[in-house]
């Protein structure tokens, strides 16, 4: 079998499964656009209430609705964000902001990718490079 054939043999089923999952999620999303984005931060609510939320979540505070409540079982604090109708804030911005905020509150820092890059742009890796540039904006959060 050719090298391209081998790539397709394994890449296609994984890509198809990923695409099916994304399609199912996006179908669900169309009927569920009011759902909040929620993340749990491993810090007690009492600590977070006494300080300002850091990072990009603070920057969008005026454009979204943010609520904090204690997580059960000493798991920390649940931060929920709802994007109001007509807000200019995107779901990707909210996901990235929540992830950055969690990292800042838990570790004091946000991990940066390796660098400088060792990869080269090719026709076939362009979609993957685009996806990884927005790695904290995507997903299910």
């Amino acid at each position: 079998m050719t090298r391209t054939g081998k790539v397709l043999m394994f890449a296609v089923p994984v890509a198809a499964a990923t695409a099916a999952t994304v399609a199912a999620k996006s179908r669900a999303k169309r009927t569920d656009h009011q759902r909040r984005h929620v993340i749990t931060i491993y810090r007690p609510l009492s600590e977070l209430e006494s300080e300002q939320l850091p990072g990009s979540l603070r920057e969008i505070t005026g454009d979204v609705e943010i609520t904090l409540r204690p997580a059960p079982g000493d798991r920390g604090t649940e931060i929920a964000v709802r994007i109001p109708e007509g807000s200019k804030i995107t779901e990707g911005q909210v996901r990235a902001a929540l992830r950055e905020t969690r990292s800042l509150l838990e570790t004091g820092d946000v991990l940066l990718p390796s660098g400088p890059a060792t990869t080269v742009k090719t026709l076939t890796n362009r979609p993957l490079q685009t996806a990884t540039r927005h790695g904290r904006e995507g997903g299910l959060l």
Binding site: R3, K6, V7, M9, F10, A11, V12, P13, V14, A15, A17, T18, T21, V22, K25, T40, Y42, R75, G76, R99, R102, S103, E106, T107, D109, V110, L111, L112, P113, S114, G115, P116, A117, T118, T119, V120, T122, N125, L128, Q129, A131, T132, H134, G135, R136, E137, G138, G139, L140, L141
Partner: protein, 385 residues
Amino acid sequence: MKALQWQGVNKLAVGTVPDPELRNPGDIIVRVTKTVTCGSDLHLLGGYIPFMEKGDVLGHEFLGEVVEVGPDVRNHRIGDRVVVSSFISCGNCWYCDQKLYSLCDNGNTNPAITETLWGHAPSGCFGYSHAMGGNAGSHAEYIRVPFADVGAFAVPEGVSDERALFASDSASTGWMGADLGGVQSGDVVAVWGAGAVGQMAARAAMLLGADRVIVIDRLPNRLQQVERHIGAETLNFETTDVAGELRERSGGRGPDVCIEAVGMEAHSRGYDQLKQQLRLQTDRPVAVRDAIHACRKGGSVFVLGVYAGFVDKFPLGALMNKGLTVRGAQMHGQRYIPMLLDRMAKGELVTEHLATHVMPLDEAPEGYRMFKEKDDDCVRAVFCP
């Protein structure tokens, strides 16, 4: 600097790439002195995990010398000899607090892919595709290590590089399988796969008090290593009825704990090969099926082998009706490495025999060919950048 780069499916080359930089204040830069192939790399090499880019640097199991430290690093100084956990973990999130380090919430800079595919994202790993953070790997002269105070460990004097190297991943993974698989004193434990991880899982089971440990493979040289260096029993699945033999050796009960250390490219003929050729499954779960079938009622199966996608004919009926506990994980190295280094220093855990082929980094493409084809009885190829 020189590095081994993924250039495409089954295509590797040593090239020149920029030196790594400190990117976060908790980073260190390590000059890699030993770095080793892993069976899970073959999934990347063969295109089974299609999240690689041309030019990515491979390698996640390594040891070296600290040459640069970030301003927030407290536990390491320039010149320290360190072994590094293959998974990158912050040490502060809920998962790290539970010692489930490979599930860290803050160690993967690119959680979208795995979150979409699996529901939640595991942490990042060195040299293991952009699904795991796209971190540059260790088959290079230098590597950046984030969260160094959490993931890098000083190697005690008296423990050789050749021994400590395997604490980075193989020994941690194997120990985790026996530990979280719940091995107890008096247990009968079966381990599928006599590669480095399987051998380490077998040794861990023995040290945790198992009464009998039986390792299953088809390669005579690996089974000989198990008998000689690990001290466990062996079964060759090409010449033995494994299920019958395991029943007989466990008083008809079946093994209490079954550890699968094979992964998605299990040796197989017939059904799974056909399914693969028809592109109807990505992973070949041959050893997992056997482990679930062989395990005693109410026993435990731990999946150490790496899987990426979907499998067919998973024996859910056996799992449910026999009351099994099935568990799996990428390795929580930070949980085990200090203890493993201590046991290595005492001589309880030996690993040097795993490094069957030691070579300069320039020869890494040939090292991977030998490793993949198991040429010249290769168990692991170790590179010295």
